[in-house]
């Protein structure tokens, strides 16, 4: 009788990759009609566990019970048939197909499509009615925004008769308002008897929407409590294994001289659409300027222009150069990123694996990347010992683990990779630091370190431009916050007056001068 109320139960679930346990004797009970949160750092085994539950990567040993019945999933096909649906962090959608085609993919209902499409249309309209999930059925997925794409994913799962819905980091791509809408939907699903498993690293969301929460660390469950009985601080502590300072202590900024002036920057993409549409920005020494906005609104292009990766089509860019301590026009600077180093500008790119490092190269070689002529020898021959020494130095400063300079970069965790990139750029002693998504894919422990270091740099008088999709990060680090929508700044607030709700409204383009409590 007890078991009847369990939507999902795991008993001693184990999964190994090589000799490493990704999940070690995991026990987990998820109650029917509840929202159950699963938190943990990167590599804590959350995703592996979800893949085990869905049969994507079948478990090695242990038992999975769905609605009290033992199951043995060999593939996702089995779990779908059993009423388990998963919404992946990276959407499993085919962009060139229509919404309808995406929904029926895999359960087309016959050799020919017409009948299936017709049946699906009716079925989906019923679901849309029941849950208020409005989507344009005949549009191509590539034409839809991420928020709608996520709805398509949820619809897809529900259409296949999912009764237990797993969402992996569903809020990573959403604005605060869209997050609220998603939570409303999840509560609605719960009230209609569905069970929701929410995998996330955002503790605030766990506290806001879940009934119970399970914390994972290094492949095992370390905490399992009712949400009302815990706090974000306790969850963070059990995730990392030590007390974590979630709110960074701020000191008042002492703004120095003007270092960078951008005026009316415009950048057009290949099809002539303005990605930056007249952006002006002053950056002063000793301040952190945060750029808030839904990703894809021009923040990336702004970073690229400032870092010299892209030349602006219009506008001007002036910088107080470090060497001569005088103003230099760098609007059309040739040899972009390299010449920026001499001006005292360093850049931590948003997509570190693509632009920041060469993943297959050793850590010590990545530490020299972009600074080859400075570290370890002259232009032609290198001094391997000095290179190793410098890398060890950096690893020591930033507490990179493992401290192995010879290891290829992709064998480090996201947090440690980011520390290596940050260490490299900051060691070049820049006067202006451009930072994109400094904590994307980085665990809480490392986030704390990175935030502290950025604050310390600001206090030393470095001008920092921070682009992040994490509003919390923007709010806790920035002295000034600029909100970007569709390639222009739509608002500026000082951090003391900013609130998440106000910023969220500005990001969505609803309030112009919002962001004030």
């Amino acid at each position: 009788m007890e078991i009847e109320s369990h939507a999902l139960e795991l008993r001693g679930v184990q999964k190994r990759f090589g000799s490493v346990y990704a999940n070690k004797s995991v026990d987990l009970t998820v109650l029917k009609g509840s929202i159950h949160g699963i938190v943990g750092e990167n590599g804590a085994g959350k995703s592996t566990l979800m893949h085990g539950i869905t049969g994507f990567h079948p478990i090695d040993s242990g038992e999975i019970l769905v609605r009290g019945k033992p199951v043995n999933f060999k593939s996702t096909e089995d779990s779908i048939a059993c009423g388990i649906g998963m919404v992946h962090q990276h959407f499993m959608l085919v962009e060139s197909l229509s919404v309808l085609e995406n929904v029926i993919l895999g359960s087309e209902g016959g050799i020919f499509l017409n009948e299936g499409l017709h049946k699906a249309r009716l079925g989906i309209l019923a679901l849309v009615k029941a849950y208020g999930l409005e989507v344009p059925l005949d549009s191509k997925v590539s034409k839809l925004g991420v928020c709608i794409q996520q709805r398509v994913e949820i619809l897809k799962a529900l259409y296949r008769g999912a009764d237990i819905l797993i969402l992996d980091e569903p809020t990573a791509v959403l604005t605060p308002i869209e997050v609220e809408e998603l939570f409303k939907l999840l509560r609605n699903l719960r009230s209609q008897g569905k069970t929701v498993l929410l995998v996330t690293h955002k503790l605030k969301e766990i506290m806001a929407v879940t009934d119970r929460v399970t914390v994972m660390k290094q492949g095992v469950v370390v905490l399992n409590v009712a949400t009302v009985d815990t706090s974000a601080a306790q969850l963070a502590e059990s995730m990392v294994g030590r007390p974590i300072l979630l709110d960074i202590k701020r000191t008042a900024a002492s703004r120095g001289e003007l270092l960078l002036r951008a005026q009316a920057l415009k950048v057009f993409d290949l099809s002539g659409v303005a990605r930056l549409n007249g952006v002006s920005l002053d950056l002063f020494a000793g301040e952190i300027v945060g750029i808030a906005g839904v990703s894809g609104n021009g923040q990336s292009e702004l970073l690229e222009v400032l870092a010299g990766l892209v030349k602006p089509n219009e506008g001007s860019l002036l910088c107080k150069a470090a060497l001569v301590d005088d103003w230099v026009d760098i609007t059309n600077a040739t040899n972009g990123p390299r010449s920026r180093h001499n001006l005292g500008i360093a850049h931590i790119p948003e997509d570190r694996l693509k632009l920041g490092v060469v993943p297959s190269m050793r850590a010590e070689d990545n530490v020299r990347l972009g600074y080859e002529d400075k570290a370890g020898g002259d232009h032609f021959l290198t001094d391997p010992k000095q290179i190793t020494r410098e890398c060890l130095n950096l690893m020591d400063q930033w507490d990179v683990r493992p401290a192995e300079p010879m290891l290829s970069l992709d064998s480090f965790s996201g947090g440690n990779q980011q520390k290596i990139v940050l260490g490299r750029e900051i060691n070049s002693e820049p006067r202006i630091l451009l930072v994109g998504q400094p904590t994307r894919g980085v665990d809480i422990g490392a986030i704390e370190v990175i935030h502290k270091r950025l604050m310390a740099l600001r206090d030393k008088g470095v001008a920092i431009l921070l682009v992040s999709v994490e509003l919390d990060e923007i709010l806790s680090l920035s002295d000034r916050i600029l909100v970007m929508t569709s390639g222009v700044f739509t608002g500026e607030v000082s951090s003391s007056k900013a609130s998440e709700n106000g910023l969220g409204l500005m990001m969505a383009g609803i309030a112009d001068k919002g962001g004030i409590r």
Binding site: F17, A22, S47, T48, H51, F56, H57, S75, T76, E77, D78, S79, I80, M86, H88, H90, M92, L93, V94, E95, S96, L97, E101, N102, I104, L105, G106, S107, E108, G110, I111, F112, L113, N114, G116, K156
Partner: protein, 326 residues
């Protein structure tokens, strides 16, 4: 007697259809393979293998139909090897396909020499049962006596081998399969985002293998056409880059069946016109060197593919072996 412009055009178009047939079959073969995310560089090898297989079987057993069966079997066998290497073993698709092409181009003449001892060729297919001959449709002879519109019927519509009609039929059929069936939806999906298919509980390897095997069947028909309908036996390297040309047509047709058909017809038309122009003096220019004329279709292909006409949108996952992420 000089031919009227009308007759010349009709004959040019009839020639275009004959030249286009192996290209169309091969392009359709490439369509299934590439839309499923497997690079179709193996078309050339599959076609050549089929040409040899069909010519050899037809020479030995005296039946063109048996030749078709063996030709298709050989091509499917090559496709199976390709899908084993590229789909299951996650090998580099370009390297595997090129390696197979080179192997076939050496193996076929070697076997021909060993089995038939007539140079590197198969014996000529002289018996009418050994080849797919041109079929004269009813009333074709009568209609020829009224050149307009009779010639359109007697030369364009009638007078082709059965494989030509088959190719014409296969274009709409392939379009139907690709856009209106469950299998087609999965093929289109797996070439764009295999993860989506996998998470929906469908085997990526299975769909890709099926698509590559279909590609083998179609290439087999194309190769058989070359050896037993257009030609009369196997000669070394008789495909002469037609597989690559078909791939070019597929790209030019933006991986869509009817557009690829159009591209094949365009390539074939240039080829036919070029052949026709050999030795014919043109006003102002005079006689164009043969070498230039032969190069013309290829030159046009390069210019077309360089993006002067359209920006290609290949399937997103093409050439990338599928591996589950952790």
């Amino acid at each position: 007697m000089t031919l009227s412009y009308y007759t010349v055009i009709i004959l040019l178009l009839a020639g275009t259809i004959r030249v286009a047939t192996p290209l169309i079959l091969s392009a359709l073969a490439g369509l299934f393979s590439e839309r499923s995310g497997v690079v179709a560089l193996g078309l050339e090898g599959m076609m050549l293998g089929a040409a040899f297989g069909s010519a050899a079987a037809s020479a030995i057993y005296g039946s063109a139909w048996l030749g078709l069966l063996v030709g298709v079997s050989v091509s499917v066998l090559i496709a199976a090897v390709l899908s084993f290497a590229c789909v299951f073993k996650k090998g580099n698709q370009v390297v595997a396909a090129i390696a197979l092409n080179i192997t076939i181009s050496g193996l076929a003449p070697t076997l021909a020499l060993a089995w038939f001892n007539q140079g590197n060729q198969t014996p000529g297919l002289t018996n009418s049962a050994q080849r797919f001959l041109e079929i004269t449709l009813p009333w074709a002879k009568v209609s020829r006596t009224h050149p307009f519109p009779g010639l359109i019927y007697s030369e364009l519509i009638s007078g082709h081998s059965v494989i030509v009609y088959l190719a014409a039929l296969l274009v709409p059929l392939s379009a139907f399969i690709l856009y209106k069936t469950r299998f087609g939806l999965r093929v289109r999906a797996v070439g764009e985002n295999p993860h989506a298919l996998d998470s929906a509980g469908i085997s990526v390897n299975k769909i890709r293998t099926q698509a590559v095997l279909i590609s083998g069947v179609l290439s087999g028909v194309a190769g058989t056409y070359l050896a037993t309908a257009a030609g009369a036996g196997f000669i070394p390297d008789m495909t002469a880059g037609k597989g690559y040309l078909a791939l070019a047509a597929l790209i030019f047709g933006n991986w869509k069946p009817y557009r690829a058909l159009g591209a094949c017809l365009l390539f074939a038309f240039t080829d036919t016109v070029a052949t026709r122009l050999q030795g014919v003096p043109l006003p102002l220019i005079g006689i164009i060197p043969v070498q230039f004329i032969i190069a013309l279709p290829y030159l046009m292909t390069v210019i077309l593919l360089a993006g002067f006409v359209a920006r290609p949108e290949p399937p997103k996952a093409i050439g990338v072996p599928y591996e589950k992420e952790n």
